[in-house]
Amino acid sequence: MTQKIDPLKKMNWFDRIAHPGQFLKWSRYLILPLAILSVILFGVGLWFAFFNSPEDYQMGDTVRIMYIHVPNAWLSQLVYVTMAVSAIGTLVWRHPLADVAMKAAAPLGAAFTTMALFTGALWGRPTWGTYWEWDGRMTATLILLLMYLGIIALWRSFDDQLRAAKLIAIIVLVGTINIPIIKFSVDWWNTLHQPSIVSSEGLSMPASIYTPLLIMMLAFTTLFALLQTNAMRTEILRRKADRQLRKSLNKENG
């Protein structure tokens, strides 16, 4: 393919790095560092979690489930915030990269939320004696999972992904109302669930437990950044391939 005249020169720096083609170029250099970083963080975090942290005086060894439960619960919300911010980008600036980010985040969010619920159930059984309790936070997380799945289903039912992005952005933003409900629901119907652990109360746990938790949260967040970047690259390539497919079909038909 011959190089055309570069139309990007007139753009400002943000437009330049956010242009899908340019994003494809520079984000390549993000993948490896992020991958290495997350491997290191997971290694250190898991070592802390199993070999260098005490058992909790109340929960015993089951406190170790927290090191994977809390990061996933945190990501289940962070991914939705990512989607909501992208949705604003889609609707207000009509930015193609925002569409891509919003689409890439949904399956990741569904996976992290599933893991949060799964580990939560396994943590709840030994500590409270039940896998599932219809308390505010757990219910809200379940609703969040249903919303992710609904959004994924909606993406798949549209043929025209550009139009789909704008419409889905609306439902994502309407759903954002749900995030505060998740946060505050714990005050509403709190039954068995513990109050928010990383909260304004400050460090309500000893540093020996807080350190592995923080490292694991960083590890999972880095993993999300890695997977999100790669999924965005995948989506840009998919659109590129679709465009080429259409072009070649048009050529064949004359």
Binding site: I143, L146, M147, L154, R163, L167, I170, I171, V174, G175
Partner: protein
């Protein structure tokens, strides 16, 4: 204002002309009240205790069933596109359609509620609370529904996906709607739930016409 009222009048006229649809919806609503006792047994005390929940579920499902006809027909025959050139804003038109939809699809259900109450062994006081709770809560329900219907209006298979999107958003309505009926859940809980339900209703009714109108505009681009 005249244009606004004429849209409502038009939609009501259209809905009442297909009276069969309205009747079907009410029948569906009542049938849930018939199948629940058959499914769980005719124990009167049990039925009375779950009645508020059952009525809200029935209202939920019926309103989801009616969702698809809120914009679909007008979108398909192009009258929605024509309405964008009306003298009032498109958001106001969507709001008018919302009101008309509530009057033709939800109000008949609320009128049929005493039938359900009879079958589910509710006493008069609870029935009154139920009707108040439905009157306060259902506007929020169809407001969220309008967003779902507007987003999926261009999809041929949109009938099923809109409810799936809307249900999680509407759960707070269900929670507070049912709590607004139940007695003996502690002093003040019931009236607090009704107030919160009212707040949710007001906010969503004020908010969602903009979201729905935006979705319809984007679909027609």
């Amino acid at each position: 204002m005249k244009a606004f009222l004429s849209i409502i009048r038009r939609d009501i006229k259209l809905a009442t002309s297909s009276f069969g649809d309205m009747l079907t919806l009410v029948l569906f609503f009542i049938m849930i009240g018939v199948i629940v006792p058959i499914a769980i047994g005719p124990d009167k005390n049990l039925l009375a205790s779950i009645a508020p929940g059952v009525i809200w579920i029935a209202a939920f499902l019926s309103s989801l069933l009616a969702l698809d006809k809120m914009f679909r027909q007008d979108f398909d025959d192009g009258s929605l596109l024509a309405m964008r050139h009306a003298s009032i804003s498109f958001e106001a038109i969507v709001f008018a359609k919302l009101i008309a939809h509530w009057l033709t699809s939800i109000l008949p259900l609320i009128i049929a509620t005493p039938m359900l109450a009879l079958m589910l062994n509710m006493n008069t006081q609870i029935l009154i609370y139920t009707i108040i709770s439905l009157l306060v809560g259902t506007p929020a329900l169809i407001s969220f529904g309008a967003v779902g219907a507007a987003i999926t209006v261009s999809l041929r298979r949109g009938g099923l996906i809109a409810p799936v999107l809307i249900l999680p958003l509407s759960l707070p309505i269900l929670i507070f709607g049912v709590s607004a009926i139940k007695l003996g859940t502690g002093a003040g809980t019931q009236s607090a739930a009704l107030l919160i339900l009212g707040a949710i209703s007001l906010i969503t009714v004020a908010f969602t016409p903009f979201a729905s109108a935006l979705a319809l505009k984007l679909t027609q681009e």
